[in-house]
């Protein structure tokens, strides 16, 4: 048995089609990572990797687990509980909440430029929504925000729409900042 054999068996467990298995692997890892993020864990990717390693061991064991999602979630939950029990030495990320230092002005300018370009590439309706969404922020803009909610099918729908636009912008900005991105 080679060193790669447990992972190959894990892939087979996900799907007989190797490519599909790899896609499923990536999707589960994304969800598990998000789970740890939602639980406020700083090392979300590390814990997701730990979860996958434990699942691989389990899959390579004697028992069979037909539902990958359920096994992953169960293991992730245990990993999180173990993590919470360990004394953590990591400092609180308070520094990261402070404004960007002066020496990062160039980075800040680049961010602003990327945002500008990414906003320009949004469809008109989405750009208009995000413009008005931020215009409607704050206590003095309750009426504008209420109007926007009515136009977009209520608070929940508006919130999700704004989230989707921000998600697009975030992806676009990440591409822009790495200097390799082109928008479709």
């Amino acid at each position: 048995m080679t060193a790669h054999a447990p992972f190959e068996k894990f892939l087979l467990w996900l799907s007989q089609d190797r490519d599909l298995a790899l896609k499923k692997h990536d999707e589960i890892m994304r969800r598990i990572t998000k789970y740890f993020v939602r639980k406020g864990i700083l090392e979300s990717e590390d814990l997701a990797a730990e979860t996958r390693d434990r699942v691989i061991k389990i899959v390579n064991g004697s028992r069979e687990y037909p539902n990958p999602d359920a096994l992953f979630f169960g293991v992730a939950s245990n990993v999180r509980k173990e993590y919470l029990r360990k004394p953590r030495l990591d400092p609180l990320p308070a520094d990261n909440l402070l404004p960007i230092p002066e020496q990062e002005t160039e980075h800040k300018e680049l961010l602003a430029q990327c945002l500008q370009r990414c906003l320009a590439r949004l469809p008109d309706s989405e750009r208009d929504l995000i413009n008005r969404y931020y215009e409607g922020r704050g206590a003095g803009n309750v009426e504008a925000r209420r109007k926007l909610m009515v136009e977009h099918g209520g608070e929940s729908t508006l919130r999700v729409k704004a989230f989707r636009i921000r998600a697009k912008l975030r992806t676009c900005i990440n591409l822009c900042m790495t200097g390799t991105g082109k928008l479709n």
Binding site: R38, L42, Q113, L115, A120, L122, G138, A139
Partner: protein, 306 residues
């Protein structure tokens, strides 16, 4: 999303870590969120809302502490926070919505040299600023040119006035020089006149002595304004001593002066007659009953001197 979906507030409490002591609920929600895409998106949007509320300052002190110490620990959420700050900063700064027309859809975010291209709206702002600066510069230049033109006109006018004054000064100097010359001449004349008056005696001499008189020449006498008297000396040539009557006639034979009883001394007469009544011309003296006439010509001395 299923009908038993959690409420917004429940999700919010979950995201703030406040359901951890409710194990069953927490596990159920976690599993739902993990595999229900619609719910997962809803949870993501509520995450964004928590961040927006946090930046708005629309959270309680307790929530704020929880957000800072728990919710914002993962890097993914700090990234969301950064984007939210960036968006707020952008919309507060520009105040103008970005339009998609500003940029072509195929334009690369980063150019081939790896430099990030200038954002279109910022570019527009820079252009607007540049135009404003150019407009200000043009106004400044125009103002400067107008000012210089005015100063130039004033200088030209001043130069013309200066030239006119200089010409007038030259004329005045010439006039002054001319007056000086005239004054000098006048003074010279006056001086010379005075000198003449001083030098010239007020008495003119008219002699009719033997040889001169006999020579047949006509005596000429200059009479000027200063001449008061004409002293006449006559050689009577053998006449006896005694008194003679004298008479002065003009060319027309009219007597214009006479004196009687003039005594002859040493064969001659010596007397004075007024000069003021004599104008230029020929005059003749008659002595008593003697037949000879002692004629002379008066010449205007003033005319000769000028």
């Amino acid at each position: 999303m299923k009908n038993d979906s959690p409420t917004k507030e429940t999700i919010r409490q979950y995201l703030l870590g406040r359901l951890d002591d409710q194990s069953d609920l927490e596990m159920r929600l976690s599993e739902q969120m993990l595999f229900d895409d619609e719910l997962s998106e809803m949870v993501d949007s509520i995450e964004d809302e928590i961040i927006e509320d946090y930046l708005d300052g629309a959270v309680s002190a307790s929530d704020r502490a929880t957000i800072e110490e728990y919710f914002l620990r993962p890097a993914e959420r700090r990234e969301k926070l950064q984007l939210a700050r960036l968006l707020r900063s952008h919309f507060q700064m520009t105040g103008n919505p970005v339009t998609g027309k500003n940029l072509g859809p195929s334009e690369s975010l980063v150019n081939r040299e790896g430099r990030d291209a200038r954002a279109p709206n910022l570019h527009w702002l820079f252009q607007a600023r540049t135009w404003c600066e150019l407009a200000a510069l043009v106004l400044l230049l125009a103002g400067g040119l107008i000012y210089i033109s005015r100063v130039h006109s004033q200088l030209a006018a001043s130069r013309q006035a200066q030239m006119r004054l200089a010409a007038e000064l030259v004329q005045e100097r010439a006039r002054s020089a001319r007056l000086t010359v005239e004054q000098s001449q006048s003074l010279q004349y006056l001086t010379s006149t005075k000198e003449s008056q001083e030098v010239q005696p007020s008495v003119a001499i008219l002699t009719f002595l033997g040889p001169v008189f006999r020579g047949g020449g006509t005596q000429v006498i200059d009479i000027g304004p200063w001449t008061q008297q004409i002293r006449v000396e006559l050689d009577l040539e053998g006449a006896s001593s005694g008194a003679y009557n004298l008479r002065l006639e003009n060319a027309a034979g009219r007597t214009i002066w006479s004196q009687s009883g003039v005594t002859a001394v040493s064969g001659g007469l010596r007397f004075e007659m007024p000069a003021q009544s004599l104008s230029p011309g020929t005059y003749c003296l008659k002595v008593g009953s003697r037949s000879e006439s002692y004629c002379f010509r008066v010449r205007g001395a003033k005319q000769n001197r000028r």
